[in-house]
Symmetry: D2
Subunit: 262 residues, 4 copies
């Protein structure tokens, strides 16, 4: 079996403009994540960033991407709608997508969820403890029933997402909040995972447990089937090709070669 092809998309702004973030992730968070995936086995990860042409995701690039990871924060609004369309179409066609931390407010995640994806937050470097709520889920393979991140930003409920297909992790925060921090969805032929940790001023993506969750999630989200050719197609099925013999009856709005309305 050939490697799973991953693209790690990073906004890459605070890594360049904030000394603390640059100190923790000198090559950018996306590079740290990609390096961890490349070391995990069976995965080949490349990176793409906001400042590249087409944000590093030109037409055709997602056909070569089995699973896309997305981290963004301060520049959600700068992501071009054409790229958002491209990402959503790829997911609907079968690409896996993993949204990290502040990507809860990214354009493609909000588009795929159909909800505000809002939450409460506090940046105090407090303790987060992630509890496994779906024992032996592939995304939790090799993990204990709970693990801790000593310093993280707090995200609190209510989290404005649709009820998930599966809840895999729920977080406890030192300051008194909880959060559904690992949730799965299907959108068309694509699998989607949201994973909460990863505030840029803490070394979260250097954590072995976090790296393992992300590598597991890549394997879980990978759909080896050939992509759906046109995931939005709504074909007319002419009467004379109906699977059971029928005769057209009554009035008709559409002409013979009508392609339908959108």
């Amino acid at each position: 079996m050939s490697d799973i092809r991953v693209t790690v998309w990073g906004e890459n702004v605070h890594e360049r403009t904030n000394a603390v973030v640059r100190g923790i992730y000198p090559e950018g968070m996306h590079s740290t994540i990609a390096a961890a995936l490349n070391a995990a086995g069976g995965i080949t990860a490349r990176t793409a960033t906001l400042d590249q042409p087409d944000h590093g995701l030109p037409p055709g690039s997602l056909e070569e991407t089995d699973v896309l990871l997305w981290w963004g924060h301060c520049a959600h609004g700068e992501v071009q709608d054409a790229v958002v369309d491209r990402v959503c179409n790829a997911v609907w066609s079968g690409m896996g997508a993993i949204f990290l931390h502040s990507a809860h407010f990214s354009k493609p995640f909000k588009r795929l969820m159909g909800t505000p994806c809002n939450l409460t937050w506090r940046e105090a470097g407090e303790r987060e403890r992630l509890w496994l709520t779906s024992r032996n889920h592939p995304i939790a393979a090799g993990l204990p029933d709970h693990f801790e991140l000593e310093h993280e930003e707090m995200y609190g409920e209510p989290f404005g997402i649709p009820d998930p297909m599966e809840t895999v992790f729920v977080s406890w925060f030192q300051g008194g909040e909880v959060f559904r921090s690992g949730v799965t969805y299907k959108r068309g032929a694509g699998k989607v995972f949201y994973f909460r940790p990863g505030h840029e001023t803490y070394p979260t993506y250097h954590d072995a447990h976090v790296q393992r969750v992300i590598a597991n999630a890549v394997r879980w989200a990978h759909n080896p089937a050939p992509r759906v050719a046109d995931p939005c197609d709504a074909p007319n099925v002419p009467v004379d090709t109906a699977l059971e013999p029928i005769t057209e009856r009554g009035p008709r709005l559409h002409g013979q070669d009508d392609r339908g309305f959108r």
Copy 2:
């Protein structure tokens, strides 16, 4: 208990431009649906159409609407994005929403689902039989286990929707297809129902079973709680107001009065 306040939104194009449709719905489909709801008891329905200013849904109008029904077909693309935003915000705040037939491709439905919402179709006036798949569901109150529409447009699977919260009806078609024709979702505080029947060249909205499903769905979708004030708000919770006493630790990205990024 006061009446449930319904707005029936109709595109109202084919009713004016197509003689067959005008013959069946001289006042427009929206008026037929609203009249049936007003006769059902406990519901006060008004109408709104595409050609009105703000498509009949100006700012403030949805605060007075408990449940919105939406029928559109040939003019999906003419619906202004500001109105789509208004509808989605109202749903997230607690308004119920019922999407009828070709509204599967309407902008607000696609936005709320996060998927292409595509399907196959055939306009041949064939028989549709709707089977109840969730016995005694409130949306099916008073209905038999199945009912028929002698002439309908066919919609066939695969239907590009997320796996529903509940599947209430599945349709059988004479030409050999099936379709999940009644499905429920939650989006924020709002309940959403999609109901398949209702091609404009057939008298579907005059059918007693169909009218009953729609009235039932209005009652099911009605959330009597006060609307969520700002359904997209993502408030910061300052350290000194944390529910458990914590001390700020480590570096910080956001300033004291930061409102977060979007």
Copy 3:
């Protein structure tokens, strides 16, 4: 509209055998809960206990019960299987069911879930904070985004339940755990809600927030439709009554009047 008819089932063992519990609930927890429901408006609640004939739930009693509440702990094993069957049949027919606290391990809850329903626990009188995860859900009507119980038993994840239809509350515990403390399900025509708080050595069922959740849940779980007559029936549909004309073909296992195998 007539009142919702509720039966509050209580094991009523520790209230008689343990001085602490008797001090908090001199008439039994079931009586405290029933009194709160009777004061809530639109609800008429009676009680039933383990020590009564048929555990207070004789044949026919559940036909007069719109919503059943269940609290049990030390005597799960003493509940007769005939009563468990009766409860499950009533739920499948349309009765609502609310399982409280240690009823996670009751026979009817485990039967309805199809999973072990296990968890971790600690009896230390620690603080529990319940967070709303589904804003404006009917079960949370009139409640703030979070509320606290100063002394409760801890229940921790992983909680061995199926992924819920909706998660309404998630709990934070002082000792570091989290728990999905309010979850909804459909089972046949019946709605099911599990609500975590309620350890017998603490005054939880005297708490106004808890009482409100339970009254809300009763209204949510109530299905006003007539009960399904035989929720397990699997009727044969003879060829000559098929909705579409078909001719019997090929070999046949069942005789003409066969009722099917179980």
Copy 4:
């Protein structure tokens, strides 16, 4: 990667007592299914039958089974409860389970679902057409959007199951019914798939599409993680091992070494 270890459980009654069934499946349906799986690649399938000691599933056997397939019909009632317990425990621990056709009424399936699992039926050798409702689902890998079985027993809605995690197939029947014929669930750490076709008087398990669905489902249901050691365990977490320092407060019901009630 080593082969997935499958056990195909067959009731094996009609194959011995009914000439038609024996003619189609001289070695039993279980043998036909196992042979197809052994030919599919990456799967090693053995069989087990009702008439064997412990129904061929003695203690320990399921630890060596990654995925269990179950076909039963006329002898559901003869399956020992100890074996049902063993199967459910194995599923909760991580074993995959696939229930075929009339196994909708088998003891383990009903136990895992928590619902009656009833339906309507007709044995007339009519045409069934299965429609894919979840494009590119792993269980549908390599399959067209629909395929037909010229002779099958009809199963009709309403089907008394919980709303599935995913609906993969919906069937159309010549006589006018529909049925959710491929549905997925999670139960504990185990994945469960129900697949409708397979009446014993028709050659369904010789069909290439059906064989492909079953082999796909085996791969989908396989959870390579080590089994959960005791899937029903509910451990006490003593105060002095709490993850956050807490002090015991208030009264206490349980003794120091209490194992909890069931």
